[in-house]
Amino acid sequence: MKVALLVGLGILLVAVPFLPGVRELRRPRDAEPNRIDETFTRDPRFFGNSLREKLAPFLEGLPELPVVRLAVELRRPETLAVYTELHVPEGAHEDALVVALGAATLERGTRLEEMWIRGDADVGPGAQLRALACDGQVTLGAGARILRWLDVEGNLLAEAGSDLGLSASAAGAVRLSPGCTFRRIWGRPVFVRGEPTETAPDERLTIEDEVVWGRTRLSLPPGFTLDRDLVSLTEVRIGAGASVSGTIKAHGPIFLGEGARVRGHLISRKGVVIGRGARIFGNVFAEGDVELGPGAHVGRKGGTKTVYAGGRVRIGPGGAVLGWLIAERGGRVE
């Protein structure tokens, strides 16, 4: 009897881990394949276009009134306020989804949720928006803050200290000012206002006058020309005015001296420091931080390139990226 009990108990213990699975096998509740979004395409302007697409049907056949309020069902029941022209006074707050059929002016310190402005938008200093799609030009006042995303059909001007949220995109140019912060910016180009000013020499960019093929670093002297790809297991230093016609890949950091030119891509498993006035015609992909020095440019006119930093991005005055700028841990204009 005791033995039978023990055997039975043993069988039960062995069977226990399988029991929850029996239910799942008999009545599957999680049997669908892992989801792959087969409609997904990488579109830096996805958020703005998606909002426009969702809201457009609600704008058909509206009465011509200064403001119309509608109850709409998007992800949840919401109120949609449609204005012909929008002026939000200083410090005002609006909870509804907002569409402005014309221009919009948001005064200092206003607080709004998601918006679609079909004219130009002037966002006052210190204003805070959850998301903004704009079919005209946008000016973000000093210290204005976007919590989620911003998409602009025209140009975007971000004044000093404004926060561009998780994603900012413009079909035109994006002009940044000192103190602006961001995660992802798409623009043709994305550039920092102002000419490069004299700054103290960056000691990290000091490069010897001769080629160094070392175990701990590889260095090309100022003015050197290399017409091939370069792969290094350590750090790479490219001297001022040097020119590399291929791609540079380094497992350590890459330092690009003043006025250096790289025709290919810069790929680093650490960080990338791009000196004043340097030009990179390809993409920059760094697992660490990227520093774009004063007047440094990435990309070429009429083309689209990407600067990707797994860490942070810092851009100096006059720095520009023709395409997409991604800073996984945040970016800042110096």
Binding site: E38, T247, Y308
Partner: protein, 415 residues
């Protein structure tokens, strides 16, 4: 004799523990470590020319699916060519390919008929000669690449160190039954955790030959694929590695595949993999040990990866040894308990995707109730062990008897 057998048993246990350590390390990295980014976020309007190869043998059930998916790729039409390789098909594959080739100039099929080596590597070689572009991507015929897959895989070759790239395989037919559901779990662990961790840790992510690609000039520089290698993907991985190239892993480039739905088909597939992989181990273990182009960690991981299909035979050997030592009274009953632990231990540590790797993948993928099926992987382990053991033995016999292996296609189930 007894001392020798005991020493052998201890050696097997040590090998098991090494694999256990590796799997734990990979899983912990995936959970807690820095994850190396892939280049999928790069947007560049100057993309390289790409040739997509699709090996096919009697693929009338799936040919439409893969070609439609490839024609729907978001990639500049003038930089994309698609070469379906019809390898001695006897069904309607050729008719289907001809109809697509007439409709779209990007599709340039090759029809392999008559004498000459058959199989995937031989077909790839012929297609490589016809290919126009340097970047070559390969999809199996049952795959359905999403619209950005070609672009995202091609981006890897901006890195001059990358010789090959591999994306993530996701079974599409998980509602077809028990086997497909277990394979889905196994694949999740293998890709979401194992491959990604090896990529993050700069170890040896593996080119898997189905949703990935390589540089044409590099493969042609060594005369193409060996037509008598069964695992041309693993062979390519190690040829690249010992020459200083690296394999990139693109976890976000996911692609549906059709997993085997019958145990017989799975057994054949796994036995072929084990045979091919072991064949590759015989070819490359010296190269991995002596290559000046690999780091010490890559060397260790490369050797462990090469040897992974030898583990099931080792387990069975350990089982036989323990039993013989027990039966002859050389070791006490406790040894059998150790033995049980050993078997369970392998399930935990040494399988392709141990349960905790699958569990980790499940959390990362947002799985819910399917995680209740984890204990059932024990049956998979037993099944895998037997299939892999036979495959590894096949490879040994190939070497000893000078036998030439022949390619065998995995059965399709789509209707």
């Amino acid at each position: 004799m007894v001392v020798a057998l005991t020493a052998w048993l201890v050696a097997i246990v040590i090998v098991m523990l090494v694999y256990a350590g590796r799997h734990w390390l990979l899983t912990l990295n995936r959970l807690l470590g820095h994850q190396r980014p892939y280049m999928q976020d790069i947007v560049d309007d100057d993309l390289p020319g790409v040739t997509v190869l699709v090996p096919m043998h009697n693929e009338e059930q799936v040919a439409d699916g893969v070609l439609t998916a490839l024609l729907g790729q978001h990639y500049p039409a003038d930089r994309l060519e698609i070469i379906p390789i019809d390898d001695h098909s006897e069904d309607r594959t050729q008719v289907i390919l001809e109809s697509y080739a007439v409709r779209d100039p990007r599709i340039r099929p090759i029809y392999r008929r008559g004498e000459g080596a058959r199989g995937k590597p031989a077909g790839l070689n012929e297609a490589l000669e016809a290919a126009r572009h340097e970047v070559v991507l390969v999809f199996d015929a049952d795959y359905q690449p999403p619209p950005d897959a070609v672009r995202e895989l091609a981006l890897a070759f901006f890195d001059p160190e990358v010789g090959a790239v591999m994306g993530r395989v996701v079974p599409s037919n998980t509602t077809s039954g028990f086997l497909a559901r277990l394979l889905d779990l196994e694949r999740s662990g293998g890709y979401q955790v194992d491959q990604q961790a090896r990529y993050s840790m700069n170890l040896v992510p593996q080119y898997g030959g189905t949703v990935g690609g390589f540089r044409r000039s590099v493969v042609l520089s060594w005369g193409g694929f060996d037509p008598y290698v069964l695992a041309e993907d693993t062979d390519l991985t190690f040829r690249l590695l010992v020459r200083g190239w690296r394999v990139a892993y693109a976890n976000k480039v996911e692609c549906y595949e059709e997993a085997p739905q019958t145990w017989d088909a799975r057994f054949r597939q796994l036995r072929r993999w084990a045979r091919g992989h072991t064949q590759t181990m015989f070819r490359h273990w010296r190269g991995v040990l002596t290559s000046p182009n690999m780091t010490p960690a890559q060397r260790v991981d490369g050797l462990l990866l090469l040897g992974i299909y030898t583990i099931p035979p080792l387990i069975l050997a350990g089982l036989a040894l323990s039993l013989s030592l027990f039966v002859t009274g050389t070791i006490p009953l406790a040894a059998t308990i150790l033995l049980s632990f050993f078997a369970v231990g392998y399930n935990a540590f040494g399988n392709f995707a141990p349960f905790y790797q699958v569990g980790t993948a499940g959390v990362l993928d947002g799985m819910r109730e399917r995680l209740f099926l984890l204990p059932y992987l024990f049956f998979m382990f037993l099944f895998n062990s037997w299939a892999v053991t036979l495959g590894a033995l096949d490879a040994v016999i190939d070497v000893v008897a000078g036998r030439v292996p022949t390619w065998e296609k995995t059965a399709r189930f789509r209707t």
